[in-house]
Amino acid sequence: MPLYTNNYVLVTIFLFLGILLPVAALTFGRFLRPNNLYPEKQTTYESGVEPTGESWIQFNVKYYIYALLFVIFDVETIFLYPWAVAYDKLGLFALIEMLIFIVLLIIGLIYAWKKKVLEWK
């Protein structure tokens, strides 16, 4: 049993570090920066665009489908990286396997395209 519970010591250390770091960073920043507030500075940061309206608005459902598509192909690249690095060792078989994987994903893309997910109206 002792071995198993010892693992939680590490978790606790990480928890404390995780809390400590932002607190320390913000406190240091408070001492280091000049204190010069004016109204424009206190508005919500919106990538340089003038913020308008409430934050609780309905998003077009297409954002989600778009985001889902993006995540799928993002994950695909994550799978491709280790395969590409170890390509010499894995050889022909992994190449075929990867092709099957990519072809199936492309069929998914064709599906999205045919169902007009990629069009924005």
């Binding site: 049993m1 198993y4 078989f93 199936l104």
Partner: protein, 505 residues
């Protein structure tokens, strides 16, 4: 290690199903929208038959494993795959009938067919893997496909409600299952079921019993969702009612059989070898003599709750949902006596009987409810005068579900009952007997409607050919298995050596 050296041929049935699903989706995408998509169902049917051919061809061979037991070809998987493929073949025939031109409720007809195929792929993986991760991926492939299938009537209010309920409760069940698996993985450090079994036995001696129990209970509760038994049964009535009738049949027969496949595979492989040496009563197997009590309690609770709540139902699909909760309780009974010699053949015998009688019953339900436009039990009133053969077929299915002699359901129940008595599990046998008698009330309620109540119409009920075929196969299967139960049991015992499930080639 050279990956080309593995015997990839054993995965042929899975590859065929995957290929068929892919081809169907491509055809569906590039076909004009106004075309009839029912021929996709016929293509899917051909794929299922081809896969079935290879499953039968590989049956009875020595167990083969590839990728470190991630995929196994053994008799256990083969038997379950045959059940899945037969069921999906019949379901396709039923769906071709369901998606006719009059049906305006399902817009995505192509999707219907290939989602059934991907669900089938998930079930086949669930039946023939010995690795927690692969088993879980199979479970999810089945789950996600069936979530969409339940909600495939996109504009239908009940269909949407049931799909939402199914997704939410399914996600919770998945989380619970995974949490349980994480304890087992945490103790043993591997996902291979055979390695887990070895390391779990020694972990138990080292005092990790509490975590093993936690893993067991969490996995049992999470996986009980798929087979719809207590404590995870409450989704079944709502989802069964809202889903299109062929999908309801799919959930109540195939999804349930796949749930049993994964439960038996995981629990029997993983917890089998744990022995308690330190008890006062001498050493004993933890799974077979301690944990099985909890499975017995779940089985008894399912039988009682399913059968009593079914008494008050007026909607035929809700009634079938409660009936299927009770049926799952019956199938759990042989799992309580886990190491009974005939445990595998009893479970599979009941699943075969259940396949024929339930699919047949749902075919009749589909024809009658579509004709009357209501799912109330009263839609069966006067069926005997409208279509005598359909009424007689439905009577056979209901008698089989109730467990009346010379039907398949009787022998299925009889064997389970006898095994329970044999292993001195008298209280469970008594619960099974008592709740079976309660179930007569609602099964005979439908029969009374068909023969003794006057219907709103006396017009002849035309049974379309595909549905008639499924009903005929159901009647033949139910009666033939009921008349010659020995043939089926002998085939199961002689051609399929279930103990090779534990062999590591």
């Amino acid at each position: 290690m050279d990956i080309t050296a593995w015997n990839w041929e054993v995965m042929t049935p899975e590859f065929i199903i995957l290929g068929t699903a892919t081809i169907l989706s491509l055809i569906d995408l590039f076909m004009p929208d106004d075309r009839d998509r029912r021929f996709l169902g016929i293509l899917g049917l051909l794929g299922v038959i081809a896969a079935g051919f290879y499953v039968i061809k590989f049956a009875g061979a020595e167990p083969v494993q590839i990728m470190n037991d991630m995929f196994r070809l053994d008799s256990f998987g083969t038997a379950f795959k045959l059940i899945f493929l037969t069921g999906v073949a019949l379901l396709f025939i039923l769906s071709i009938q369901y998606l006719n031109r009059q049906n305006q409720e399902v817009q995505y007809r192509g999707e219907f067919f290939y989602l059934v195929l991907t669900a089938l792929l998930g079930m086949m993986i669930m039946a023939s893997s010995a690795d927690l991760i692969t088993l879980f991926v199979g479970l999810e492939v089945l789950s996600v496909s069936s979530y969409i299938l339940v909600g495939i009537r996109k504009k239908h209010l009940y269909s949407n409600e049931s799909a939402f309920k199914y997704v939410v409760s399914g996600a919770i069940a998945t989380a619970i299952t995974l949490y349980g698996m994480s304890f087992i993985y945490g103790i043993t450090g591997t996902t291979n079921l055979y390695d887990i079994a070895e390391r779990l036995a020694s972990a138990y001696q080292q005092g990790f019993s509490l975590m093993i129990y936690l893993g067991f209970f969490l996995m049992l509760v999470g996986l009980s969702f798929k087979i719809a038994v207590v404590p995870y049964h409450m989704w079944a009535p709502d989802v069964y009612q809202g889903a299109p009738t062929p999908v309801t049949a799919f959930l109540s027969v195939l999804s349930k059989a796949a749930g049993f496949a994964i439960i038996i595979r995981i629990f029997l492989s993983v917890f089998r070898s744990i022995v308690n040496y330190q008890s006062d009563a001498g050493s004993f197997y933890v799974l077979f003599q301690e944990l099985n009590l909890y499975i017995a309690i779940l089985a008894a609770a399912s039988m009682i709750i399913g059968n009593t709540l079914a008494l008050r139902q007026t909607n035929i699909k809700r009634l079938m949902a409660y009936s299927s909760i009770a049926q799952a309780g019956y199938i759990l009974v042989p799992l309580v006596t886990f190491w009974g010699i005939n445990f595998f053949s009893q479970t599979l015998f009941y699943l075969v009987a259940y396949l024929f009688m339930t699919l047949g019953a749902f075919a009749v339900i589909m024809v009658v409810t579509t004709d009357r436009g209501t799912e109330d039990i009263r839609s069966f009133a006067g069926l005997y005068h409208r279509s005598p053969f359909t009424a007689i077929a439905m009577t056979i299915f209901l008698l089989s579900l109730a467990g009346i002699p010379i039907t398949a359901g009787f022998f299925g129940k009889f064997y389970i009952f006898m095994s329970s008595v044999l292993y001195e599990n008298y209280w469970l046998a008594a619960v099974m007997m008592g709740t079976s008698i309660i179930s007569y009330i609602y099964y005979f309620g439908i029969i009374r409607q068909m023969y003794m109540r006057p219907g709103d119409t006396e017009a002849r009920l035309a049974v379309p050919l595909p549905a008639a075929f499924v009903i005929a196969v159901g009647v033949l299967g139910t009666v033939a298995v009921g008349l010659f139960p020995d043939l089926v049991l002998n085939y199961l015992n002689q051609n399929l050596q279930f103990t090779d499930m534990f062999a590591r080639p």
